[in-house]
């Protein structure tokens, strides 16, 4: 059974029209149909956070959202963070603090930190705040410390103006 639905959405600032099977989840749609393979699939159970993208600015597990539910929404994926230009400050800080190793969880981590940066609205975050925010992104390589340090550099007390 193929239950086709036409959808119109914005992905990384660009309009997209597509016809999708109802059961296609957003992660698979981004990866297979739009060839945006930077969004990774780590569990398909909504637990690991590798597939995190922003939907209208809010972080979501793209494996738990249907592509058809993205109709009319604005999606940001890792490919939209810096494009081909200079790395975004979050990306650069992750590299500086060795906040990534294999890099599989990294796009999801960056999307979580993007939302955190927006939500803090210029405020200062503690290490506990940052650790709580990152707790929905599993990483097997880094022990999280490099990511936490990268976020502390950008959002922590030392970064306050």
């Amino acid at each position: 059974m193929f239950d086709a639905h036409d959808i119109t959405l914005t992905v990384n600032g660009k309009p997209v029209r597509a016809s999708v099977d109802a059961r296609m989840n957003l992660a698979d749609f981004l990866r297979k149909d739009l060839k945006l393979t930077g969004t990774h699939v780590g569990c398909e159970h909504g637990v690991c956070g590798a597939c995190t993208v922003l939907v209208d600015g809010a972080s979501v597990r793209s494996c738990l959202m249907l592509a058809v539910q993205a109709d009319g929404r604005s999606i940001e994926t890792i490919e939209g963070v810096a494009g081909a230009g200079e790395l975004h400050p979050i990306q650069a800080a992750l590299a500086r603090h060795h906040g990534l190793q294999c890099g599989y969880c990294t796009p999801g981590v960056i999307m979580t930190l993007r939302e955190l940066d927006h939500d803090r609205a210029g405020g200062t975050l503690s290490e506990d705040d940052i650790r709580a925010a990152l707790s929905g992104n599993l990483c097997r390589c880094t022990g999280y410390q490099g990511m936490v340090d990268a976020a502390l550099e950008l959002f922590g007390p030392a970064a306050a103006p």
Partner: protein, 787 residues
């Protein structure tokens, strides 16, 4: 061999010893990497497996018609279908191992009998994964259940059912570690400690599961396999043997790999089934393991049951340890018997153990086969020794640090030989290290001396804090060799290729740093190719914390040879004496005559040859060099971990407040990346101690098949890990490096458990099981409170 100076602060070294930015990061940060499932091959079909739903049973029949009839399904294949392109029934995985009574090589799809839940039985190939899974739901397996073996102790009892009908019994191997006069050690007055320890199963669980993409090119009669593996050359060997091809017909490539941790070292059945199907169907086929499959079909380990006793002098010095280790090997032997042997030998640790006898029995069970997972048996052995030391310290009223100090091997004893024969036939020799200093530094950093005061103050305020201590060693840099080739063609590009493989460790950066130093270049300018069997004829890959040791030194040797050749050619071209030519910023120039020189590219062009003209100095053509660094022994990394914990005795909850590591892996090529390895290792060890437990029920059904049930440590439960280094370079290789990838995992369980026992010392809590769950701890608290 050229020997580098022994101190890190070497002004001649621009890159080795520095935190060079990783060459891997940019593309990973942008989401532009190519992991297996990212490979664009629109013509590839997608596959799934129907897997054994029971732990043990006989396949009486299978109904495949409905699945075959589903639109979009290309093939539904059982073993008999694939056998047409296979040379043998079983994958020839067996490693030579003393003590192995029989090999249990797995087939790529079950033949008549299923021996663990998750064993692949039927392969479905379809236009998409969704359709393949729809078809899988239509397959009916008629399986006659057989009794399952789920416990390695019960499985070795007489009268136990057999885990496999094709083996004589469940005792797949019996071996021992045995030296010194163990009977004498237990004679006469001594302080005896007797314990039973049970360590339970966990896994590697890389964030990217396994995956294989195979394409058979009929025109070239050549098979290319993209495989998310740590060991592509071994995968190639398995494919060549199993498919009856010659070496030139098989290429195995690793794309970007999202973590390994041992899970991707062993060749799994799917790595043969998918290429075999691609040959049979003459279509490219991709299979990407999903997380559910990963929990049931990927290897794991750590199930061990130890009954041990230790004899101590009354001053706390060890006289001997003896006991029995029973080990759950799962349903096959994909990696010999390395795990229990590692466990038993790593028990010795940094201590003088005069007599030792450990009898080791390996039991086949109806669980996913066991193979090395970060630490590879060593955390368990270390756990046993460290627990025994804590028990003796308490019994003899000696401080925990002091009993360790009294037993430690001291630097003057290095190299220190332990009369235990290893896999390669050599004796166990600790090459270097200063164990007392390592512990002493860790105690200082963690505030060991003042801790009892802090502990008493916290307790007065209702907080139960404890400080745990553990020492360990790790045999790293396992051989026999690793390959590195360096070539500079007329383009001037420096290409380094190696049999080493990368799963996140920063192998490319590490190799680039070493080569950059020798060639006087920037690491970012060096192109490193790893994980491609067409780029290096031989190689081994990632296992046993070995690649900085083996590939790092191979790169150093190859780069040195390449510079020697370039110098000879430059001397010829510059009409200078070879001894007067030096390399600087990629230029070969005459000393004292800046600007008078040739670039590496110019030399490469000259050595590429011109038709009819002689090569400079009649040197052999090409500016390239290759080295297979062959190890002359294992280099022993060591460390001391201190874990400060807070226990909630009312709930059994444990919080990690602070974690200190003092680590010695010899010279560090990139300290930032070494620390990344230690951090990840420690957190894996935290998981093993408090969270991760691959559980099965009494019938062998796995109970933890999602990340919601199998708990990985998250950012909000791990502490900040403070890392300090000692650098005792090993004399066993020119760079003086030792491995660092698994060390963090080895020390963590022992340190954390020691801290928990310290926090609850007033209740005499003794922990003998891993992982430690809150209900278990609560039970121990209640039992302690009653006494």
């Amino acid at each position: 061999m050229t020997e580098l100076p022994k101190t890190q602060a070497d002004p001649h070294l621009r890159w080795i010893g520095r935190n060079a930015p990783r060459v891997e990061d940019d593309v990973l940060l942008r989401g532009g990497a190519t992991f297996l499932d990212d490979i664009a091959m629109p013509e590839a079909l997608e596959a799934t497996f129907v897997r054994a739903p029971v732990a043990h049973g006989l396949i009486r029949g299978m109904r495949l018609e409905a699945a075959r009839a589903l639109p979009g399904v290309n093939a539904v294949l059982a073993f008999a279908d694939l056998r047409a392109v296979l040379t043998t029934d079983r994958i020839p995985l067996a490693l030579p191992a003393g003590g192995l009574r029989f090999d249990v090589d797995p087939p790529c799809l079950a033949i008549g009998e299923v021996c663990y839940v998750g064993e692949p039985v039927v392969l479905i190939v379809a236009n998409s994964r969704r359709i393949a899974e729809d078809a899988a739901a239509l397959v009916e397996l008629d399986i006659e259940p057989l009794p399952a073996v789920v416990d390695p102790v019960a499985g070795l009892e007489p009268g136990s059912p057999k885990a496999r009908l094709d083996t004589p019994d469940n005792l797949v191997a019996r071996t021992k570690v045995d030296y010194g006069d163990i009977a004498a050690a237990f004679e006469g007055p001594a302080h005896l400690v007797r314990e039973t320890f049970r360590l339970n199963k966990g896994g590697g669980h890389p964030m990217e599961p396994r995956g294989v993409l195979a394409r058979y090119d009929a025109l070239e009669d050549r098979l290319t396999i993209w495989d998310s593996t740590q060991m592509p050359h071994r995968a190639k060997a398995m494919l060549v043997a199993s498919l009856g091809l010659s070496e030139h017909q098989v290429r195995v490539v690793t794309p970007d790999v999202g973590g390994g941790f041992g899970t991707k070292a062993v060749f799994h059945p799917e790595e043969l089934a998918i290429p075999a199907a691609a040959m049979l169907l003459q279509r490219p086929i991709k299979w990407v393991e999903d997380r559910f499959e990963s929990f049931t079909a990927s290897i794991g380990e750590r199930d061990q049951v130890w009954t041990v006793e230790a004899a101590f002098e009354t001053d706390g010095r060890l006289r001997g340890i003896r006991g029995h280790l029973r080990y759950d090997h799962g349903a096959a032997t994909p990696y010999g018997i390395a795990l229990p042997f590692n466990a038993a030998t790593n028990l010795i640790g940094p201590y003088v153990l005069p007599a030792y006898r450990m009898d080791i029995d390996l039991c086949l069970t109806n669980k996913t086969p066991a193979a090395p997972t970060r630490g590879a048996g060593r955390p368990q052995g270390t756990f046993v020794m460290e627990r025994l030391l804590d028990r003796a310290a308490a019994g003899l009223n000696i401080a925990r640090d002091e009993i360790r100090r009294r037993n430690m091997i001291v630097p003057a004893q290095m190299p220190y030989t332990i009369p235990v024969k290893q896999r390669d036939g050599s004796m166990m020799v600790y090459d270097s290290g200063d164990y007392p200093q390592c512990q002493s530094k860790a105690l200082d950093v963690a505030g060991w001396q003042d801790f009892p005061e802090r502990q008493a103050k916290a307790r007065a305020e209702g907080h139960y804090i404890g400080l745990g201590l553990a020492n360990y060693v790790e045999a790293t840099g396992r051989g026999p060799f690793e390959s590195v080739g360096i070539s500079i063609g007329p383009s001037g590009k420096v290409v380094v290729s190696s049999g080493a493989t990368a799963q996140g460790q920063g192998v490319k950066t590490m190799l680039a740093q070493v080569v950059a130093d020798v060639l006087g270049l920037e690491p970012a300018s060096i192109h490193v190719v790893v994980g491609d069997t067409s780029a290096t004829a031989s190689g081994l890959g990632a296992y046993a914390s070995r690649q900085a040791v083996t590939a790092g030194n191979a790169a150093f040797a190859a780069a040195t040879m390449l510079v020697d050749k370039a110098r000879k050619a430059a001397a010829e071209l510059l009409e200078a004496a070879e001894a007067d030519v030096e390399i600087h910023n990629g230029m070969l120039q005459v000393k004292g005559v800046p600007g008078h020189g040739r670039s590496l590219q110019q030399i490469a062009r000259a050595l590429a040859g011109t038709p009819g003209f002689a090569l400079p100095g009649n040197l052999p053509p090409g500016l390239s060099a290759a080295s297979d660094f062959m190890t002359s022994g294992l280099s022993y990394t060591n460390g001391c971990h201190l874990a400060e914990v807070e226990v909630d005795p009312e709930t059994g909850g444990v919080k990690l407040n602070r974690y200190v590591v003092v680590h010695d892996c010899g010279r560090m090529i990139n300290p930032m990346m070494v620390e990344g390895q230690i951090l990840g290792g420690v957190v894996h060890g935290i998981g093993m101690t408090l969270f991760e437990w691959m559980r099965y029920d009494a019938e062998g059904q796995p109970l933890t098949v999602t990340f919601a049930d199998y708990l990985l440590p998250t950012s909000d439960v791990v502490p900040r890990v403070e890392i300090y280094h000692l650098e005792s370079p090993t004399p066993l290789n020119p760079l003086g490096v030792k491995g660092a990838a698994e060390s963090g995992t080895i020390g963590a369980p022992s340190a954390i458990v020691s801290g928990i026992e310290d926090a609850l010392r007033h209740l005499n809590v003794r922990i003998d099981t891993l992982p430690l769950t809150p209900p278990q701890l609560r039970r121990l608290v209640r039992a302690g409170a009653r006494t």
